[in-house]
Amino acid sequence: MAQELKTTERQVPSKLDGNERTRSRPVFVPRADIYETEDNVVLLVDMPGVASDGVDITLEKRTLAIRGYTADQPHENYRQVYAEYASGDYERVFTLSEDIDRDGIEASQKNGVLRLVLPKAAPAKARKIQLKMA
């Protein structure tokens, strides 16, 4: 767990499919909270600087990819003298274990935090088969 946290710090994710990005900006793995309720799986992802139109979420089979693009913030007449964080894009991919109801997914981006609600698909109901008496 501790090791996990360390790797989700400021670090570029491994090239997922051997491809390269065309934009030369740093890419970070955003920190995420995930919890599961009876009906939903909820993800909270910290992506400071990402507006709601900069979020890109794709779900393909069981692979959920979250990408956040930040807009460049020009600081005219200012030069950077001290830095603890760098601005860049965010990217993180999860593999879901539950079957998700794709049509019911809700996402909202507020104050730099993405909230993603993934409703679980209703389990296939067991059907009882009646035997016909001859």
Partner: protein, 145 residues
């Protein structure tokens, strides 16, 4: 050959060393993760007669952050509430985001005018622009010939 001989005796020094190395790595990894970086991370920008401080505060509303300026220090205070699942039956899979109260004191390169402070907050990014008071600015002195 050598290894298999050791294996027969029941003691393989190389295997033992690898095991110890692994154990050591695990313990040390746990120690470094305990020292969490300061929250929120800040960047400092210098201008002509002003200075700008930017901070990453995801999940906070402008009303959750307390900003105070005194002489040449800027204090950033607030609390980041822990997310609640709102349901007792829910299970946490991951908790990586930090929460709780935070306070950071930033020392600025000069005294700032408390009346001339602009703070903006958008998408979890806080930007505070502080200006040097008119009286403190360096004055050019004319030399009489």
């Amino acid at each position: 050959m050598l290894l298999s001989d050791f294996g027969r005796v029941g003691f393989d020094p190389f295997l033992e060393m690898r095991r110890m190395q692994q154990e050591m790595n695990q313990r040390l990894a746990g120690m470094t993760a305990a020292t969490t970086p300061e929250f929120p991370p800040i960047n400092l920008w210098a201008g002509e007669e002003s200075v700008a401080v930017t901070a990453e505060l995801p999940g906070l509303a402008p009303s959750d952050v307390d900003l105070t300026v005194r002489d040449n220090t800027l204090i950033l205070k607030g609390e980041r509430g822990s997310p609640t699942t709102g349901d007792e039956k829910s299970v946490w899979h991951r908790r990586e985001r930090s929460y709780g109260t935070f306070s950071r004191t930033v020392q600025l390169p000069f005294r700032v005018d408390p009346e001339q402070v602009e703070a903006r907050f958008a998408n979890g990014l806080l930007e505070v622009e502080l200006h040097r008071p008119e009286a403190d600015r360096p004055k050019k002195i004319q030399i009489k010939g």
